[in-house]
Subunit: 218 residues, 2 copies
DNA sequence: CCTTCTGGTGAGTGATTACTCACTTACATA
DNA sequence: TATGTAAGTGAGTAATCACTCACCAGAAGG
């Protein structure tokens, strides 16, 4: 992971974060090893070794091992959630700049696909650890409920009122839309990353699959 | 978890497994704690304590901590995979005892839903640990590739040839079918188990969602 | 009655763990 | 040049870890 990118990722609320060179090495090493063997199985001594710093340096910046985990995961979750529907994206739809839900879906999928591509390690860590750390679970749930869900809700009910989408409980519909996308992202980057993937074809198929499943009957 | 059920679960290839009372307690305790806090974060001393046995007793039956994990996970994975399409199920379809793919899907979903309901803890453990333990990953992949995938393939291509299902790469179609089902099972039992769920309505919606997405165009 | 076997025990062990702290170094500002 | 401050160090520590081992109990068989 490049340090400039790491730096960018950890920026929250546009607040600049000062990172020492060593501090960046610590974060990069921690991301790598947490993703490889899991948080609980990772020794701080190993992080220090791979980062090329003394073990004490880690605890100078992060009072406990768990703070290091949170320093990685929280900004990652926020960055994943916030731009899901960039504010101008939703406007575009209602300004008819998009043909319809299908185009929106396409933009959304490619967007999250690229994010996942650049953050496989963090994605792994979040998926693995959020079950065991209430703070992570809370961050995920909050950013979803506050950032993602309302915009999805607005969008979907809009299309439903316009008669373009089927009537179906909102949560069920969201799950039906998100599941195949997440399923693809996870198989693409985590379960079977080494296979040859024709992403464009896959995305096309997923989109048409989802659309058929949720569009209003003719 | 009842011991009789535990006993049943651990039976592989119909070979009876003799379980001491203490041994059963060890397994039950290990399942509980592994699911709660993860394998790596679980101390053998804690398992012994909750099981009400001496720590040495664990290592009398399982040479290493990891063997205890595998003794839980492997039979769980096998029991989950093998009956996915019970041999008579596929026959039924081609004997026209099912109306079509839709009925098959319904049986499949309710079947796996009940399995998940009875095995939430093991499900959690498998989801959490299979990323870090090659033996688990291998077991999952093998039982999927050998038991599940061929039967799915046979079934789907059958329906495709009969002109009932859309032409779509097999793997993509399988992922599209499985993702919403897994997505529901995971939200139902792991992410949000305490919510009130109208399972029948959910399943109906999921089935119609999937069917619209994969059936051949009229 | 003696032997053998299996199941069970719990104190003990060396290795590893997260974390501490007295100390050094680098650098900015007075 | 003196001084304060933040970054960095690494030996040290108490706690905990997975695992061992000498020993005990009871049942089975001769």
């Amino acid at each position: 992971m490049q340090e400039s990118y790491l730096h960018e990722l950890l920026k929250v609320d546009d607040q600049e974060i000062r990172l020492t060179e060593k501090q960046a090495h610590i974060l990069a090493a921690a991301i790598e090893i947490f993703a490889e063997k899991g948080y609980a199985a990772t020794a701080t001594s190993e992080i220090a070794k791979r980062a090329g710093v003394a073990e004490g340096t880690i605890f100078r910046h992060y009072p406990a091992k768990k703070d290091l985990l949170l320093a990685i995961v929280k900004p990652g979750v926020l960055k994943f959630a916030v731009p899901v529907f960039a504010s101008n994206m939703v406007e575009h739809i209602f300004n008819r700049e998009f043909d319809g839900f299908e185009d929106l879906l396409s933009v959304f999928i490619y967007n999250r696909l690229d994010f996942a591509r650049q953050n496989v390690a963090i994605l792994r860590i979040v998926l693995q650890e959020f079950a065991f750390h209430p703070e992570i679970k809370k961050t995920v749930e909050e950013s979803f409920l506050e950032q993602v869900y309302p915009k999805i809700k607005e969008t979907i009910t809009g299309f439903q009122k316009a008669g373009r989408l089927k009537q179906m409980p909102l949560k069920t519909m969201v799950r039906c839309i998100v599941s195949p996308i997440l399923g693809f992202i996870i198989t693409r980057f985590i379960l079977n990353p080494d296979a040859e993937w024709d992403e464009e074809q896959e995305v096309d198929n997923i989109i048409s699959f989802i659309m058929k499943g949720i569009e209003a009957e003719a």
